[in-house]
């Protein structure tokens, strides 16, 4: 049986943080180059090439890009619809870039939402995501069962007037575990997901099944357990009348008794967090 401690050294956490930063840098760089007429396929390729140039060879999943009402997964029935299409970006359209590169064995999984020109609905969604980031951290520190936290997030979304769109992800997950992945020379992907990372996830699922937890944080019974120590890529996804917005970043969960230590966001210097801080400063000023 694995030890229930975190199992990551500060150097490991630094590695995860660095690759998460790299991913957000990529997202910001690609987002800055988006212009009317760019298609989802092109945006996905831009992310892939940017990261490849910086040494990324393996993926948890290949980069995704969703434009317009596809940011809210409107009409999604089968998982193949997540893959980039020839939908072209138009002024005022919201977009989401979602990528999960593995760099030097460290996995990251991020989601970046933006819009091309002003889009008041999108602005509002982004501001309202803040409450979810705070709620999730608070309740994880309280060690509430993950399924109940999921339901609380759901309720908060309903109160805000939004639809839960992470429900559309495989297994309806709001988060999933990520881990170190050993460097291999051959790292194929299956349906967009890297086999090495999937192997890690499957291993976790097997362990979890024996020990009564799951690496997938879902609304189902198998998620009815307190937060499992490890790294969770958390991705609450709001949808409102054909516009969607999400963030995705890594939450570190440990089994420390100190609430502050028991769970914390891997990095607080991220675009969406900075945006909220700026808003707050503007309000107080």
């Amino acid at each position: 049986m694995r030890a229930k401690t975190l199992g990551y050294s500060p150097a490991d956490l630094r590695g995860f943080r660095e690759v998460q930063r790299l991913s957000y840098e990529c997202a910001e760089s690609v987002a800055a180059r988006l212009q009317p007429g760019v298609t989802e396929r092109e945006a996905a390729r831009m992310q892939r090439e940017w990261l490849r140039e910086r040494g990324v060879r393996d993926w948890f999943h290949l980069p995704f890009a969703w434009f317009g009402d596809r940011t809210a997964f409107t009409g999604f029935k089968i998982p193949l619809q997540f893959f980039p299409t020839d939908r072209a970006l138009e002024p005022g359209m919201a977009f989401v870039l979602d990528m999960a590169p593995i760099h030097q064995g460290f996995t990251s999984d991020i989601g970046y939402s933006g819009c091309l020109g002003p889009n008041p609905v999108h602005e509002r969604l982004m501001s309202d995501l803040r409450a979810h980031r705070e709620l999730i951290l608070r309740e994880v520190r309280e060690r509430r069962p993950l399924r109940e936290i999921y339901e609380d997030v759901d309720r908060l979304m309903a109160r805000q007037g939004y639809a839960n769109r992470h429900r559309a992800y495989p297994f309806g997950v709001i988060a999933h575990k990520v881990d170190r992945v050993s460097d291999r020379r051959w790292s194929p992907t299956v349906f967009g997901f890297g086999t090495n990372a999937l192997r890690g996830l499957a291993k976790d699922a097997l362990h979890g099944h024996r020990e009564g937890w799951s690496p997938l944080w879902s609304p189902y019974r198998f998620s009815h357990h307190p937060p499992e120590p490890g790294l969770w890529a958390v991705e609450p996804h709001l949808g409102f009348r054909g516009t969607g917005a999400k963030f995705e970043e890594i939450l570190v969960v440990t089994d420390s008794r100190d609430p502050e230590e028991s769970a914390f966001w891997l990095d607080d210097d991220l675009p969406h967090v900075r945006r909220w801080q700026e808003q707050e400063e503007a309000q107080t000023a």
């Binding site: 759901d154 309720r155 309903a158 109160r159 805000q160 007037g161 639809a163 409102f240 009348r241």
Partner: protein, 645 residues
């Protein structure tokens, strides 16, 4: 800029009447191009009759015809010219003009041969569209010499309007054109040609439909007979016909407001007899050889009454070809909308003219926004709008461009709904904190809404609570609470807002949220199902009663929808802990079913637009409705089942 052969001039003769006026001889006195002075000068003394008591009457002379023109409102404001149809005179616009005059310089005139304007001599050949265009230009030059005018036409006024808006010589004189119930004869000619030259089953059906609707056009081509009929029995019975067939209320009764009087005017038989020449002079000529350059040079707003007995809505299917800047509006009403729906027309005319005035492209309904043509600018009140189906409904109406009043017990929820509604397209949205079961609070709300926002066009009685548990465990207090909210809440809404709608007399719609439990009995839901069955029957009765006021009533029966009703449902006969457990369990089950409230909201909008009576929404609700009609035994057997929560 203008090339018309008529000259304008003014006289102060208050009673030239139809027939020989002062004659062309007086034209020399004023000379071409002289500005006309109004007929309400100090020496005239006479005030215009009946509905125009606060207007200024003047006479415009063109091509030997005296046109009776009335102006209302400040001449500095943008000018709106209202052109009447057949068989009518400018009095048909009295209601709309009275509502527009504070915001615009409103001008109405009697078309030649109608009302107090004089008729050409001879009549044959005197009513061609070219001559009507001369008349319009003369009036426009007299009332607004420097600025283009906003043109509004109904029926033949709109047929003329299309001519004005598509010929070269009026370019620059028309700022916008609002058309209702009157297609361009040229467009109509092309419409027929297309269907004859490339026949398809659908095209043939459309052609036959319009052919049948146009019976009166053929009748009017008969010589002499129409004139005799109008001057005889038809003329005297016309007000009654209008009231019975077209629901043009107040046609005979003397109404209180001044703008209500004088319609139809006493000159009707003569107007109608002269007007027959509109058809004889133009229809055959234009339909046989439609102009090919009939493109509109001004932004066009098309208002289509869906219940028009004379014109098929299909006539306008290809209108974008001819009018590139087209805004479509539809209206559930019959032909005489200036009489029956003045409020709605006023809103749309004012909005369109203002948009054209500011030279910003009119807020065109994006194609994705369904029902925007129908619901744009309407006032919608939704109860229980703080969450679930009510909130989703408010959002759907907001997306269609309606103004929304979100009512809920939960102030924060209602406020948030109003807030987001504004973000997604509602021109205005407000929130009100009211408990629908509180009679006094509802009365206060009705007064406040009428004073501050106006008469509600669509009322959605959505607020409701869930109660579950066996009958024998349901206390009197539980019953009272259930009926207070689920039934009395709806009753108060229908009573208070239904009365306002009926009093206004311009139609409207009431939507009551019943439930699939209204026809699916269940041992677990005696109180809830009883209250919802009452709502269903209430809606059916109300629908029958309000049909003659043209107020539609719909009952929506959603079924299992993923909202927070399960989290607040009261389970009778269970202690606190059990209560919470069952709420959680029910919420999870509904969550697994995951039928989104947005789909119910779509059903609500569809019910309003199509005026449906009872709408089961989810498949299980539709199945239960079917079974309740054909196999009630099966439902009774199902009712005995005891769901394990």
């Amino acid at each position: 800029m203008k090339a018309h052969d008529g000259t304008t001039g003014g006289t102060t003769d208050p009673h030239p009447g139809p027939g020989p006026g002062p004659g062309p001889g007086t034209e020399a006195d004023t000379g071409p191009g002289t500005e006309a002075e109004t007929g309400t000068g100090p020496d005239s003394g006479a005030r215009p009759p009946a509905p125009w008591a606060d207007g200024r009457e003047r006479w415009v002379r063109t091509g030997g015809i005296e046109l009776c023109v009335v102006e209302l409102g400040d001449p500095e404001l943008p000018t709106v010219v209202l052109v009447h149809g057949y068989p009518d005179s400018k009095e048909v616009w009295s209601r709309v003009a009275a509502r527009l005059k504070d915001r615009f310089h409103v001008v109405v005139y009697d078309v030649r041969g109608c009302g107090r304007s004089s008729a050409p001599k001879p009549l044959r050949g005197g009513f061609t569209l070219e001559k009507l265009t001369d008349d319009f230009l003369a009036v426009a030059d007299a009332v607004s010499p420097d600025r283009p005018v906003h043109l509004v036409g109904h029926d033949w006024g709109s047929v003329q309007g299309w001519e004005f808006a598509t010929v070269k010589r009026t370019e620059g004189r028309i700022a916008s054109f609002t058309t209702m119930s009157g297609p361009s004869l040229d467009h109509f000619g092309h419409w027929i040609r297309r269907r004859l030259s490339r026949p398809t089953p659908r095209g043939a059906a459309q052609l036959l439909g319009q052919t049948a609707r146009s019976w009166y056009v053929y009748a009017l081509h008969t010589p002499v007979l129409p004139e005799l009929l109008w001057k005889g029995p038809l003329g005297s019975s016309w007000p009654g016909v209008l009231e019975r067939v077209e629901k043009v209320g107040g046609a005979r009764s003397a109404a209180a407001a001044p703008e209500e009087a004088g319609y139809p005017p006493p000159s009707l038989p003569a107007d109608a007899a002269h007007g027959a020449w509109l058809y004889r002079d133009n229809v055959r000529a234009r339909l046989r050889r439609p102009r090919t350059d009939c493109y509109a040079h001004a932004p066009v707003q098309l208002i289509t009454p869906t219940g028009d007995l004379f014109l098929s809505p299909r006539l306008y299917d290809e209108l974008e070809l001819w009018a590139p800047q087209l805004t479509r509006r539809t209206l559930p009403a019959r032909h005489w909308v200036p009489r029956t729906r003045p409020d709605q027309l006023t809103d749309w005319i004012a909005e369109f003219a203002t948009a054209a005035e500011s030279r910003s492209p009119a807020r065109a309904p994006a194609p994705a926004r369904r029902y925007a043509d129908r619901l744009s600018g309407r006032l919608v009140l939704v109860t229980g709008a703080g969450s679930g189906i009510g909130r989703a409904t408010a959002f759907s109406f907001a997306e269609a461009g309606a103004r929304v009043i979100a009512v809920d017990r939960d102030a924060e929820g209602a406020g948030r709904t109003a807030d987001l509604a504004r973000l997604i397209g509602a021109p205005a949205a407000w929130s009100e904190t009211v408990d629908v079961s509180d009679e006094q609070a509802m009365e206060k709300l009705a007064v406040k809404v009428a004073e501050e926002y106006g008469v509600v066009d669509v009322l959605v009685n959505n607020a409701g609570i869930g109660v579950s548990g066996p009958f024998l465990d349901t206390s009197a207090a539980d019953w009272k609470r259930t009926l207070d909210v689920n039934l009395w809440g709806v009753l108060h809404g229908c009573r208070l807002f239904g009365r306002q709608m009926a009093a206004r007399g311009q139609g409207g719609h009431i939507v009551n949220l019943a439930s699939a439990a209204a026809f699916q009995p269940s041992r677990e839901l005696p109180a809830y199902a009883t209250s919802k069955a009452a709502v269903l029957m209430l809606s059916e009765c109300l629908r029958a009663e309000l049909a003659e006021q043209e107020i539609g009533v719909s009952a929506i029966c959603p079924g299992f929808v993923h909202t927070n009703i399960t989290a607040t449902t009261r389970f009778t006969g269970a202690d606190e802990q059990e209560q919470r457990r069952r709420q959680r369990r029910a919420s999870r089950l509904y969550g697994l079913r995951n039928y989104p409230p947005e789909k119910v909201a779509d059903a609500v909008l569809r019910a309003v637009v199509r005026n449906q009576a009872v709408v089961p929404v989810t498949p299980e609700a539709r199945g239960a409705r079917l079974l309740s009609r054909f196999a009630p035994h099966a439902l009774r057997a199902l009712a005995r089942a005891r769901p394990r929560l």
